[in-house]
């Protein structure tokens, strides 16, 4: 009588509701059995209460009511201790038992969270909420400002105690601890230890350390700190690391499509991955895999190597022919003999196979690492699909890194922001395909005319950012002007509509102490001025 993961979840939910429904009755029995302030407390009542506590502990634990289960466990333990002594429970013991019983019966009223079931697998962490523990108020303010610019919602705390209180209310995606004021990061490490004691899964932590030597690193690793960054660090480095941690612990769990020859086995596999916090879908049949992929776009595909209609590697090759899925990681489950057979005939590597039967933890690790790689790749490629240029986010990061480099080497760096003139009316009059074509042509032209070391990114809409290392504003202006002339001479569109287009440009230079956001803002303001002057204008920010 096998069913699906959803089946199980649905049926468990029914049982859980039933448990909640019957809980008040059980708790009132706890109240009736607990020792009274005055008067005797019989062995029978003690034994009954112990059993009741044991039962509540078990059921509550099974349904994910962790606090309730913990309170019941405490009551059970106290009674067991009292009963272990031959004499009847002492007055102190009775008082402790009574208190524990009250704590249990009050679980629902005192603390509503006690009776809430634990969130499924991962506690609800607010997206991009970041807590910063920093004793240095000035640095704290500076960091918070920077983190904000990268889309984080940072909140600063001056003491570990304040941090712990906030964490108890809302878990952040990551905790950043500034230990750079200490020679050895002892206080920072103590704070992390206190933070993640008994927390499963732990909250990812980043330590900004005053020293980067091996002793300090070792201490950090031992304390379970995820990322160790010697301070001062480049902002891009910090953000990159934070992003990675935040995505690893993303609210969007890995999505895994499972295709198996045997539905029971496929469901069990899916259940294992669900239990590890992933989202799964079991594909109905191999020849309908494309529909399943469209229905449930996964981060990776887990499939049997031996399928009824074809081999897994054959099906994998078909899937990879579709551009959307050309990079989809596929992991095959196979018997040892099947691996040999398919390795010999197909374009697969041994690395793509897991030999059945596979232990649950190995399966989870193998699936997670592939899904993670797909995500990391997607972020790294960071290519705008229309123009092939870097995405806004990707170029933002590169600007940050280039600024740091330019400052370090004391070299010039210039940012130009280009904006196609009257782009909206172009789209309105000639249609979006023509507008897209104009944008693509400009992207292509820029790529041809600029150096490999120059960075070009799409800032959204019709706006393109060009970052020119080793280039001052004069040279940048000249360069952009040549491109402007070339672009003006091009026509765009199809057979019946040929249009020409132009762009305006704002140029600004990097200066010591100027952040990426400030540089971008300066170039955008200059662009606004250029726009006032009419089509094709180029303006350079006055220094």
């Amino acid at each position: 009588m096998a069913g699906t993961v959803e089946d199980l979840q649905r049926r468990l939910a029914v049982l859980r509701d039933q448990f909640v429904h019957e809980l008040p009755q059980r708790l009132s029995r706890v109240g009736a059995l607990k020792p009274r302030t005055n008067g005797p407390w019989g062995d029978e009542a003690a034994a009954d209460l112990r059993l009741l506590a044991h039962s509540i502990k078990g059921s509550a634990g099974t349904f994910g009511f962790t606090e309730l289960s913990a309170r019941a466990a405490r009551l059970e333990r106290l009674i067991a201790q009292a009963m272990a002594q031959i004499a009847t429970a002492s007055a102190d013991q009775k008082r402790a038992i009574r208190d524990a019983a009250d704590a249990l019966t009050n679980a629902g009223t005192i603390d509503s969270s006690a009776i809430q079931p634990a969130a499924p697998r991962r506690p609800g962490r607010a997206t991009k909420t970041l807590y910063l523990l920093d004793e240095d108020a000035e640095r704290s303010i500076g960091l918070i400002e920077q983190l904000r610019q990268y889309g984080y919602h940072p909140e600063g705390f001056a003491t570990p105690e304040a941090l712990l209180i906030a964490v108890a209310e809302l878990e952040p995606v990551v905790v950043l601890i500034d230990g750079s004021g200490e020679d050895t990061p002892e206080r920072a490490i103590a704070a992390v230890t206190a933070l993640n004691a008994d927390r499963d899964p732990p909250i990812p932590t980043v330590l900004l350390a005053g020293r980067g030597d091996i002793g300090a690193r070792l201490a950090a690793v031992r304390a379970g700190i995820d990322i160790f960054l010697p301070w001062p660090a480049e902002t891009s480095e910090l953000i990159g690391q934070l992003d990675q941690l935040a995505t690893l612990d993303d609210h969007a769990p890995y999505r895994v499509l499972v295709l198996g020859a045997d539905p029971v086995e496929a469901n069990r596999t899916a259940g294992l991955l669900e239990a590890a916090g992933m989202r799964t879908r079991v594909a109905p049949a191999s020849l309908r895999i494309l529909e399943a992929l469209a229905d449930f776009p996964p981060d990776m595909l887990l499939m049997d190597a031996a399928l009824p209609d074809c081999t897994g590697t054959e099906l994998g090759a078909v899937i990879h022919q579709f551009p959307t899925w050309s990079n989809l990681p596929i992991l095959f489950l196979a018997s040892a003999a099947e691996v040999e057979r398919q390795l010999a005939s197909a374009h697969a590597s041994a690395d793509d196979f897991l030999v059945k039967p596979v232990a649950a933890n190995r399966l989870r690790a193998a699936v997670a690492s592939r899904a993670e790689r797909r995500r990391a790749l997607r972020a790294l490629i960071a290519q705008d699909p229309l123009t092939g240029l870097l995405t806004h986010r990707a170029i933002d990061r590169r600007i940050e890194a280039e600024i740091a480099r330019a400052e370090r080497m004391d070299r010039p760096l210039t940012l130009a922001i280009l904006d196609i003139d009257r782009f909206r009316s172009l789209n309105q009059h000639h249609g979006y395909p023509v507008g897209d074509g104009v944008l693509r042509s400009l992207a292509l032209l820029l790529r041809r005319r600029l150096r490999r070391s120059d960075l070009i990114g799409r800032f959204g809409g019709d706006r393109i950012a060009v970052l020119l290392p080793e280039t001052g504003t004069d040279m940048a202006e000249e360069l952009v002007d040549r491109i402007r002339i070339a672009f003006a001479g091009m026509s765009h569109g199809g057979a019946d509509t040929m249009v020409s287009a132009s762009f305006s440009t704002g140029i600004a230079a990097s200066r010591r102490g100027r952040s990426a956001a400030e540089l971008i803002r300066a170039a955008e303001l200059t662009l606004l001025e250029a726009k006032k002057h009419g089509d094709g204008a180029i303006r350079v920010e006055e220094s």
Binding site: A2, L15, L51, G58, A359
Partner: protein, 135 residues
């Protein structure tokens, strides 16, 4: 999961706690595809086991009248069942307790509460290891 091992089909599950019994039965049936017979006491397990003919027995440790170890000993007295592997479930799961249960001759000891999503897999793995799997 594989042809190399004798299939695990029938499981006898013994637990006095109705909620957990129900969860375990559903989880093992739905996720594992096993046939599960659930018993609410050691006495019931002794009565039902010979007729049910299980491949594996899952036994709660703490039960009111006959506890897990007592039930274990009694099951071992039944000829037809004396080589059926028995796995304990326990909420305490302290090293000393686990050791004591293994010394009784239990195949393995699992912690409670268990995760309904994975319990079938865990049981399968124990079964396969019992049959020589080294995964």
């Amino acid at each position: 999961m594989s042809e190399r091992f004798p299939p695990l089909g029938r499981i006898l599950y013994v637990d006095d706690e109705p909620d957990i019994r129900e969860v375990a039965k559903i989880a093992l049936e739905v996720m594992g595809g096993f046939t599960v017979h659930a018993c609410e006491s050691g006495e019931m397990a002794l009565a039902d086991a010979p007729g049910f003919n299980p491949d594996l027995i899952l036994l709660d440790v703490m039960m009111p009248s006959m506890d897990g170890p007592e039930t274990f000993a009694a099951l071992r007295q039944i000829d037809a069942l004396n080589d059926v592997p028995i796995v304990f479930f326990t909420a305490k799961a302290q090293r000393a307790e686990v050791q004591a249960l293994l010394e009784l001759g239990a195949l393995d000891v699992l912690a409670k509460p268990f995760d309904p999503m994975t319990v079938a897999q865990t049981v399968s793995e124990i079964w396969m290891r019992h049959h020589g799997w080294d995964g």
